[in-house]
């Protein structure tokens, strides 16, 4: 039933650290990631290109994949920024431009958080430029493999930031040892992409040179932004029964919930 409550008005359990949820204690953090921490597994890049796990690609494709991963390693500059926000602050950020789905998982999850932080990560502009150059010269196979590898790396960078979030807030006693941190991004699961405007107005990730286009996509394109929600494992669990789930073919939410 609480699924139909407006954002920020979902069940808010009594919380031992409720005061801390309204008073951020951590200063903004900028993070430079090491390549091995965000390097995609070769097989995952192939899977992203539609090659099933059990199929061995031919030698030419393997050679191109190696080339794509080598270029990725050379070109990425993985950076991130994280800013703790209070629950009342996120109550103001989440509604964005008023275009979110009437009910969404995040609207139910974040009010139960122990701690929240806005974040943005990027691989930087050079790898995006290289992908565009390769498409321009019709080197589609290499371009597509580099593109898929960079998308995977951007997601792994966000995952690495999520881990830093959990370690940091546990260290400061703002996140219980058994609590779980998970990230949510505008554009997914009912949080409309226009939510980027409010998110960027508060986060302003100038240090890592990520900006918003008019359409709310980020520049450089291989960037990820959103909110990391830290709290008990069960707050992150939801059934895919929202109206927008019927059209969704990305089962990432199921995998994320399985992994926590």
């Amino acid at each position: 039933m609480s699924q139909n409550l407006p954002p920020g008005q979902a069940d808010r359990p009594d919380h031992p650290e409720d005061t801390s949820r309204t008073q951020p204690v951590l200063s903004r953090q900028c993070i430079r990631f090491a390549y091995p921490d965000i390097a995609p597994a070769p097989r995952s890049v192939l899977v992203a290109q539609g090659i099933p796990q059990q199929v061995e690609p031919d030698a030419r494709v393997v050679g191109l994949l190696e080339e794509a991963l080598s270029q990725l390693r050379e070109l990425v500059e993985p950076l991130g920024v994280m800013q703790e926000v209070t629950l009342p602050e996120f109550d103001r950020i989440y509604p964005g431009e008023g275009l979110n789905a009437p009910a969404s998982p995040l609207a139910q999850i974040y009010p139960q958080a122990e701690v929240l932080a806005l974040f943005a990560v990027t691989l930087g502009a050079p790898v995006c430029r290289r992908i565009a150059e390769l498409f321009d010269v019709h080197d589609y196979a290499l371009a597509s493999l580099l593109d898929a590898a960079a998308s995977e790396a951007a997601d792994l960078t966000a995952a690495a930031l999520e881990k830093i979030f959990a370690d940091t807030f546990r260290m400061y006693g703002k996140l219980r040892p058994d609590a779980v941190a998970l990230r949510y991004s505008p554009g997914y699961c009912g949080w409309h992409v226009s939510g980027q405007k409010a998110l960027f107005a508060r986060l302003n990730p100038y240090e890592i040179e990520v900006s918003l286009r008019e359409s709310c996509l980020m520049e450089p394109l291989k960037s990820v932004s959103g909110v990391v929600v830290g709290g008990p494992r069960q707050i992150h669990e939801f059934e895919p029964g929202y109206p927008f789930c019927a059209d969704c073919s990305d089962f990432g939410c199921r995998e994320r919930i399985r992994n926590i």
Binding site: Q49, G50, L64, Y140, A141, V193, F244, C248, S249
Partner: protein, 214 residues
């Protein structure tokens, strides 16, 4: 002609150097650009598309073949202008505003070019107005839109309704595709067609273009 079959075979293997070389030989032998295009390059891409459809080959293999196709196209492009070889149709494609996922859209573009279409690829994050302006400017018969995010699917509805408001819906047909889409969604927003993959998109666009000539 043996050389045209060789071009098609090497294109299927993604051997761009060999396709370029064989195409130059075919031109030197006096074959027309249209013959080389239809019976060499397009014939090769048709086989590639069919193999992809039945999962005998995968996206990187198709993209290698596409590069090979371009190396042949580069050779015959001046001849095509001279001979005034018409494209079989013209399509404007793009990933809709707010969405950057373009693997599927790129594949559709490649398959359409491989089938002999002229394709104006607007890239990703394309505003509704830009689709319509490009279609008008290039006198395209078809607008193809792709989306991966459920939150960006409404942009497609906007394009369809803008075309209707401009009185262009009979002249410029729309086709939509992308992982979260369905034929039902296409029908609901009033799009003229839905394609579930790149190969299917070619068939559907051919039908739309044929219909626009009726």
């Amino acid at each position: 002609m043996e050389i045209l079959q060789q071009i098609a075979r090497e294109l299927e293997r993604g051997e761009d150097g060999k396709v370029g070389e064989l195409t130059r030989l075919a031109v030197a032998d006096g074959l027309s650009a249209k013959q080389i295009l239809d019976d060499g390059l397009i014939a090769g891409m048709n086989v590639v598309g069919e193999k992809f459809r039945v999962h005998e080959i995968f996206l990187p293999d198709v993209l290698l073949a596409a590069r090979a196709m371009y190396s042949g196209m580069d050779v015959i492009k001046p001849l095509m202008l001279e001979e005034d070889v018409p494209a079989i149709g013209k399509a404007v494609i793009g990933t809709v505003q707010g969405d950057l996922h373009d693997i599927g859209k790129n594949l559709v573009g490649i398959m359409l070019k491989g089938a002999g279409f002229e394709v104006i690829d607007l890239g990703n994050d394309v505003a509704p107005e830009a689709f319509i302006a490009a279609a008008r400017e290039n006198d395209a018969q078809v607008i193809g839109m792709s989306a991966l995010l459920t939150t960006t699917m409404p942009v497609m509805r906007k394009v369809v309704s803008m075309l209707r408001e401009a009185g262009l819906n009979g002249k410029i047909k729309t086709i939509v595709g992308g992982a979260p889409l369905s034929a039902d969604f296409a029908a609901e927003i009033g799009a003229d067609a839905y394609a579930y993959d790149g190969v299917n998109a070619v068939d559907r666009v051919k039908e739309l273009v044929a219909g626009s000539h009726d």
